[in-house]
Amino acid sequence: MNGLQAVFLLAALVSLFSAAMVVSARRMMHAALWLVLTLMGVAVIFVTLQSSFFAVVQILVYVGAIAILIIFSVMLTRRVMEDHGDQILPGWRGAALVVVLLFAVLVGFLALWQGFTALLVELPPEADNLLELGKALVSPQGYVLPFELASVLLVAALIGAITIAVDRKEERGG
């Protein structure tokens, strides 16, 4: 058990615990804040995988933007401070069963694979190579089509979300 493993275990436990709190917290705002903690934990997991870029992007996009968007939405879709009543659907036992089965099946199948027990060693510093990623993203042999489609998808999301959310009639009334 070395330091890196300890960091990983700590981050994994924190993120799993807070993920469990996300799906069980009664107040939506608490769920959103637990979600932030989960996302930070996942960022630390990325660090242990030596992907600095995605660790930072995780904080920039998820914590900085998506979590804030979710918190704004939580504030926009509540009438009272307290979320009253049960926050879990009546059929949650069935869902829990499905989920536990899925977990068992996933881990069972993964364990059959011979790479499952491989040890991840420390990569050389040039492995997390933004230069190569940048070249691959715009090279015709690489990902130029997904790259441009990503832009189209983002714009479609922007236009769609604005069209849906900004309702002129209500906007003028209040």
Partner: protein
């Protein structure tokens, strides 16, 4: 002699050597050295705030034709210390119904998010916190963590004014992060790396503020907005909101938000000096690293001085003006800037470096001039509309706010 040329680096080397001589395992030496470095840097930054508060109050005082603090200590230098002693003994008042955890975490997180920025900044050639390969992105991402603390503060206080203030502030911060991120792309393009040390190294010949003045201007304005200072101090708009997200805070918990603000203001100046003003670069800085530190501090204080000038002289924006400045001036400008610079750089690639730089400068100046012209035309149009209102004439629908006729 070595000591005189680079005292900080010398002390660090000596300390690490001393630690290694104690017979500890190498890993522990590493951890202890890093812990000491972090402690010294963080403590230094926190104590530095005391001086910053004095500096800023003195300057603002001079701008407003007052003396500023001048009673405690020579030139009032000990005034912030006295203030600190006072705030240390103030009672914490926790409002009823507050979410204790969020309420108490918020001021800590606010300071931590700013302090963490110092971990990747190169202070001189030999004194670098750490040379992270995605340093610039790290600076932007961690700077954005502060928003979370404002949300925690506003929500944890169980007060509608605090909540409103927090959401208002966060809306402002995230809006201004758009041009900040976009204009940060320009130095990355020029330097070809995201590492802050790499960006400083790339400015060996010419500073990026010379190559890309428009990007520097956008970055600077967006940075000022990020620290929420006048003229962007909508959070503390006394005439509009009660006080903003920190209304329910008292004692040192309030003080921590204050510390975070001052430290952030200075840190943002430091980042600007590093990314656009060449960091520690200057004549002789490579031979004598301590000079680099002096240069960096000089540059930072110049930038900080300009932000204080802004604060002391400009009136506060209205919130719609502020949002318009961001969405209708800075964001389109930065988008156009990236595209124009990318194309200009691509076309002049085979030319000597001098002509490349000239092309970049030309593109920047052209875009700035164009923006200025467009803003002038827009202002004239608006003035015409206002005139029409004043004389009681009917206003044409085409010139009113678009998007309403649906």
């Amino acid at each position: 002699m070595d000591f005189l040329r680079d005292p900080i680096g010398f002390v660090i080397q000596w300390y690490v050597g001393w630690l290694a001589g104690l017979g500890l395992p190498a890993v522990w030496v590493d951890v202890i050295a890093k812990l000491t470095g972090a402690l010294v840097l963080a403590t230094g930054a926190m104590l530095f705030v005391v001086f910053l508060i004095w500096y800023e109050r003195k300057l603002i005082g001079r701008i407003q034709d007052r003396f500023g603090p001048n009673r405690v200590g020579p030139w009032g230098l000990l005034q912030p210390v006295a203030d600190m002693l006072k705030i240390f003994t103030k009672e914490y008042i926790t409002p009823i119904g507050a979410d204790k955890f969020a309420y108490n975490l918020a001021p800590i997180l606010a300071v931590a998010a700013v302090l963490l920025l110092w971990s990747v900044l190169p202070l001189s050639m030999t004194v670098v916190g750490t040379d992270l390969n995605v340093g610039l992105l790290f600076l932007i991402a961690v700077g954005g963590l502060g928003e979370m603390s404002y949300i925690l503060a506003g929500w944890g206080s169980n007060n509608k004014y605090a909540l409103l203030g927090a959401f208002r502030l966060v809306a402002q911060l995230i809006s201004y992060e758009v041009p900040l991120v976009l204009s940060a792309l320009v130095p990355v393009m020029l330097a070809g790396t995201l590492s802050v040390t790499g960006i400083v190294e790339a400015q060996e010949g010419v500073w990026f503020i010379v190559v890309a003045p428009a990007a520097a201007l956008i970055f600077f304005i967006a940075s000022i907005a990020e620290i929420g200072r006048s003229p962007f101090d909508l959070i503390e708009a006394e005439s509009e909101l009660v006080a903003g997200y920190n209304i329910e805070y008292s004692g040192l918990k309030f003080g921590m938000f204050f510390v975070a603000e001052f430290l952030h203001a200075f840190t943002v100046s430091l980042i600007f000096a590093t990314v656009f003003l060449g960091g520690w670069r200057g004549p002789g800085a490579e031979e004598i690293p301590i000079l680099g530190f002096v240069y960096l501090m000089l540059k930072t204080f110049v930038v900080y001085f300009v932000t204080i000038l802004f604060r002391g002289t400009l009136p506060r924006f209205r919130i719609d003006q502020m949002m318009n400045l961001n969405w209708k001036v800075l964001t389109p400008l930065s988008l156009a800037l990236i595209m124009a610079m990318a194309i200009a750089g691509g076309l002049t690639r085979d030319l000597p470096i001098f002509w490349q730089v000239m092309a970049f400068v030309l593109v920047n100046l052209l875009l700035l001039a164009l923006t200025d012209q467009i803003m002038k035309i827009a202002r004239r149009k608006k003035a015409k509309v206002n005139l029409a209102i004043g004389t009681g004439q009917p206003i044409l629908t085409s010139s009113t706010k678009h998007g309403t006729g649906e």
